[in-house]
Symmetry: C2
Subunit: 108 residues, 2 copies
DNA sequence: TCCGTAGTTCGATATTATTGAACTATTGAA
DNA sequence: TTCAATAGTTCAATAATATCGAACTACGGA
């Protein structure tokens, strides 16, 4: 049985957040999770369909370790939720600002 | 004669900024440059004294490419300045917020 | 019980970062 | 001028990290 380790709110670091969000694929995953306002399986939140499962799994592991994502098991799939409250408590406004700029850039 | 390439303001990307700031050493360099409110040589802004010159040089190259730092040559040394205005124009509030959280974290 | 699905883990390869050594450009002193 | 010292870059080799496919685990349904 796979058990996930999530850092407590206070153990979320700026370095971890920046490191996690510095990868374009992970930024897209986080973007999708925030937009969803609920949980998504890993495959649902996948940033591109041709990415290897193992790579996707690794990205989620990094997002979990950074404290950005909380994963629980539900049946055969994993339910991933963005830890909005914890991130907001730790770094108020940061995620919203980054995603805002991200969206603006994508919108052109 | 070494000539430096700096992206124009509009070519500064969020991805580039996040990528550049996701490295702790580069974040410390940027921290120092902002605090200085003026130019610093590479060695002056070095995040730790035992870092290899080539590594330090590479970090500055990444910061330049991201559009965070502007480097000009003055005599035997390089004058590095943080591109505050350009970054603020492109991503208002972002750098200030990140550095604010960084300082808060360091203050413990 | 057996098959399909969703993810993880593992070992190998590909990419990226770091390093020391050699090099360039500039300054200052003999 | 010439020589040594300084600041930083470039290069080639190595160290570290990311990606991948294959094998594996766990669960659900036929």
């Amino acid at each position: 049985m796979v058990q996930f380790v999530h850092p407590s709110r206070d153990d979320i670091t700026l370095e971890g957040i920046l490191e996690a969000l510095s990868d374009p694929m992970r930024l897209r995953i986080v973007r999708a999770l925030v937009a969803q306002q609920g949980c998504m399986s890993c495959t649902e939140a996948a940033p591109c369909p041709d990415m290897a499962k193992s790579t996707l799994s690794n990205h989620f592991r990094i997002l979990r370790q950074a404290g950005l994502v909380m994963t629980s098991k539900k049946g055969v799939e994993h339910r991933n939720v963005i830890r909005l409250d914890d991130i907001e408590a730790r770094f108020p406004g940061l995620l919203k600002m980054i995603l805002g700029f991200y969206d603006a850039e994508k919108a052109g």
